[in-house]
C-alpha cells in the first residue's frame, strides 16, 4: 500500500500522465506497426505462412484464448478482493499458525474451481491483503490442481480407474501443503517481491477499475509471453524425444513431469493427454497430472510477473521436486 491518502491517489496517478510527455517512443512504434498491419493485412506478407509459423500461431492463439476467460475471472476476483475485502478480515478467518493456516488455505483452493491462470492474480492480492505468504502460495497450488472440475475430468479420462482420481487428489494436496510448510519454515520474506501495483482508489469502483487494469496488463502480458514460449516448444521440440524415456524407471517419471512443464496443458484437459500416454507407467502419468497445474512454462512466467524473478527461481524448482516426490510416494501406495 502506498502511504498516500487514498482520496488523492487516484486522481493523481491518472493526472501525471500528462506530465510524461517525454515518455519513451515505444507506444508510437507499437501503434504504428499495428496500424500498418491493420491497413495492409496480409498483402504485404505476400506469401502463405510457412507451416511451422502457422502451427506456432495456432497453438499460441489456442493457449491465449483458452486462458483468457479464466484470467478475466481471476482478475475480477482479485480486483474484488482489493476493492471490498478489508485487510483485517483475513486475520479473523485464517488461523495464525502456519501449520494450520497452510492446510486450510489448501482446502480453500480445492473447493474453488479455478484455473492456474486465474489463481496467480488472486494469490497476489491475497498476499497484499495480509495472508501469510505460505498460505497464499498453498492456495495458488491447490486451486488449479484439485478442484471439482479437474477431478471430474480426470475420472472421465480414466474410466474404471477411480484410484487415479484419488491419487491425483492426495498427491497434489500433499505436494502443495509440503511446499507451503517448507516455505513458511525456510523462506526469507524478501524472496517474494510484491510486484503487483498497489492501488488505493477514491472509491470501491475506482479501486476495482485500477486494480483490474494493472493486474490484467501484468498477468496478461506474462500469460502471452508464456503462451508464445509453449507454442515454440510444441512446434520445435519433436515429441519422439519423449518416447525415449518411456518405461518404468525413475527417469520416465521425471521425463513426464518435465513434459508437463513444457506442454503447459490446462489442468482441466491434461487428464485426457495423460490417459493416452499408455507407454508410460501410471506413476509417471500421475506425476504429469500433479506437476502440470502447479508449475509449467506459462505459470513460471506468471509467477515471475506477479512475485519477481527471485521468487520464481526458488519457488518453481521447489514445487517441481516436491510434486515429483509426492507422485512417487502416492503412486507407490495407490497405483
Amino acid at each position: 500500500m502506498t502511504a498516500t491518502r487514498p482520496s488523492e491517489t487516484s486522481s493523481r496517478h491518472l493526472a501525471h500522465r500528462e506530465k510524461s510527455k517525454d515518455a519513451p517512443p515505444i507506444p508510437i512504434a507499437v501503434w504504428a506497426v499495428v496500424l500498418f498491419l491493420f491497413t495492409s493485412r496480409r498483402s504485404l506478407l505476400g506469401f502463405t505462412s510457412p507451416a511451422a509459423l502457422e502451427n506456432w500461431a495456432t497453438i499460441f492463439l489456442s493457449l491465449t484464448l483458452q486462458a483468457l476467460p479464466f484470467l478475466v475471472l481471476g482478475i475480477g476476483l482479485s480486483a474484488m478482493i482489493s476493492a471490498f475485502v478489508p485487510a483485517s478480515w483475513v486475520t479473523r478467518v485464517l488461523p495464525a499458525r502456519p501449520a494450520l493456516a497452510v492446510p486450510v488455505a489448501g482446502l480453500a483452493g480445492a473447493v474453488l474451481p479455478g484455473c492456474e491462470c486465474s489463481s496467480v492474480p488472486v494469490a497476489g492480492r491475497l498476499v497484499e491483503r495480509g495472508i501469510p505468504q505460505a498460505a497464499a502460495l498453498t492456495f495458488l497450488l491447490t486451486a488449479p490442481a484439485i478442484n471439482p472440475i479437474v477431478l471430474v475430468s480426470t475420472a472421465v479420462a480414466f474410466p474404471g480407474r477411480p484410484e487415479m482420481v484419488l491419487a491425483r487428489f492426495v498427491a497434489s494436496f500433499l505436494a502443495a501443503v509440503t511446499v507451503g510448510l517448507v516455505w513458511s519454515r525456510f523462506a526469507a520474506p524478501d524472496w517474494l517481491e510484491r510486484r503487483l501495483l498497489a492501488v488505493a482508489g477514491s472509491s470501491h469502483g475506482r479501486t476495482f477499475l485500477d486494480t483490474a487494469m494493472a493486474d490484467l496488463l501484468q498477468a496478461g502480458g506474462f500469460l502471452v509471453m508464456g503462451a508464445a514460449l509453449v507454442a515454440t516448444m510444441q512446434t520445435v521440440v519433436p515429441r519422439e524425444v519423449i518416447d525415449s524415456f518411456a518405461g518404468d524407471s525413475l527417469a520416465s517419471v521425471v521425463a513426464l513431469a518435465g513434459l508437463a512443464v513444457v506442454l503447459s496443458i490446462c489442468s482441466e484437459a491434461d487428464a485426457f493427454v495423460a490417459a493416452g500416454m499408455t507407454q508410460f507407467s501410471p506413476t509417471a502419468r500421475l506425476a504429469f497430472l500433479v506437476v502440470g497445474p502447479m508449475v509449467d512454462l506459462k505459470l513460471i512466467a506468471l509467477h515471475a510477473g506477479a512475485f519477481g524473478r527471485r521468487f520464481a527461481v526458488r519457488f518453481d524448482p521447489l514445487v517441481f521436486a516436491t510434486a515429483v516426490a509426492a507422485s512417487l510416494a502416492v503412486g507407490a501406495v495407490l497405483l
Binding site: R17, V30, T58, Q66, P69, V224, E240
Partner: protein, 260 residues
C-alpha cells in the same frame, strides 16, 4: 505504459476475443463449449477498456478547469505500468497477420508419438442403433480408433464385419496411393491435441492433396501389416482400413473431435 495505451491494448485483446467468439474463428482453436466464456470475457475486457477511457476523459476535462492542477509525481513508482502489457497486442497480430487455420499435417506428422486416450465407447449398441439395411455406420475417428485398438475382441469382431464411414483430412504417404486419415481430438484447446490416425489402404484414385478433407467408406482390416509408423508405440494406435470409397468434402465447421 501510459493509461491511454493500457485502455487501447485491453480493448484490442477484448476485440480479438469477441471477434473469435462471435465468428467461427474460435472453433479452430478451442472446443465449442468455450464460446460463451470467450464472448463474456471479450465483452468484459471491452467494458473495462471503455471504463478506463471514460475515467481518463473525465479527469482530463477536470484538469482543464482552473483551480485543479495536475500534481507532482511523487508516487509515480507505484503507478507505473510495466512494458510487459504491450505483449497483449500479440494475439491480435497473430490473428491478423497469420490467421492460422486449425492444426493440420505439420502437427500430425509430429504428434503421433502420443497415444490415444481410452474413452468409454459401446460399439455394439452404437452399431445396433445406427445400422440401416447394410448402410455403412458413421463413426467418429476416435470411436473407430479406440474400438480397433482395444483389447475387446467382441468390438474388433463387429468392426471386421461392419463397413464404416469416417471423416478426416489426408496425410499423403510417400508412394502416392494409400494415405493416412487424420483428425485431431482436443480436450480444451489445440494445445492439448491428440492426433487420431487411420491408415487407409486400397485407394487407387487420383492423388489426394495434403490436408484435403475426405469421407471414406471401408472396413477395418486386422490382418494388414502395419504402416510406416515411426515407433512401436504409435503403431498400436494406427489401425488399418480397407477402403471402398473416398469422397472429398468441405472442411467441417468443427475441425476437431472432442472426448465429451
Amino acid at each position: 505504459m501510459r493509461h491511454g495505451d493500457a485502455a487501447a491494448v485491453i480493448g484490442l485483446i477484448g476485440f480479438v476475443a469477441l471477434w473469435m467468439g462471435l465468428t467461427d474463428g474460435m472453433l479452430r482453436y478451442l472446443r465449442p463449449s468455450m464460446r460463451p466464456w470467450l464472448v463474456a470475457s471479450g465483452a468484459a475486457l471491452v467494458a473495462l477498456a471503455a471504463g478506463i477511457a471514460f475515467v481518463l476523459w473525465r479527469e482530463r476535462r477536470r484538469e482543464g478547469e482552473p483551480g485543479i492542477a495536475a500534481d507532482g509525481c511523487a508516487h509515480e513508482d507505484h503507478h507505473r505500468l510495466g512494458l510487459v502489457g504491450w505483449l497483449l497486442v500479440m494475439p491480435f497480430l497473430a490473428v491478423w497477420c497469420v490467421d492460422p487455420s486449425a492444426l493440420g499435417a505439420y502437427a500430425a506428422e509430429r504428434y503421433d508419438a502420443l497415444g490415444v486416450p481410452v474413452i468409454d465407447f459401446d460399439l455394439a449398441s452404437h452399431v445396433e442403433a445406427h445400422r440401416f439395411s447394410g448402410q455403412p455406420v458413421e463413426l467418429k475417428l476416435h470411436e473407430f480408433v479406440i474400438s480397433a485398438t482395444s483389447d475387446d475382441e467382441a468390438a474388433r469382431g463387429i468392426l471386421r464385419e461392419t463397413p464404416v464411414r469416417l471423416r478426416g483430412f489426408v496425410l499423403p504417404s510417400t508412394d502416392g496411393t494409400d494415405f493416412r486419415l487424420v483428425r485431431f481430438m482436443i480436450g480444451c484447446c489445440a494445445g492439448d491435441a491428440v492426433a487420431l490416425q487411420v491408415d487407409v489402404r486400397g485407394y487407387h484414385g487420383p492423388p489426394l492433396e495434403e490436408e484435403a478433407w475426405v469421407e471414406v467408406i471401408g472396413t477395418y482390416d486386422p490382418h494388414a501389416p502395419a504402416g510406416e509408423t515411426r515407433d512401436e508405440f504409435a503403431q498400436a494406435s494406427v489401425p488399418v482400413l480397407a477402403v471402398d470409397e473416398v469422397r472429398q468434402i468441405d472442411e467441417p465447421d468443427s475441425p476437431y473431435e472432442y472426448p465429451r
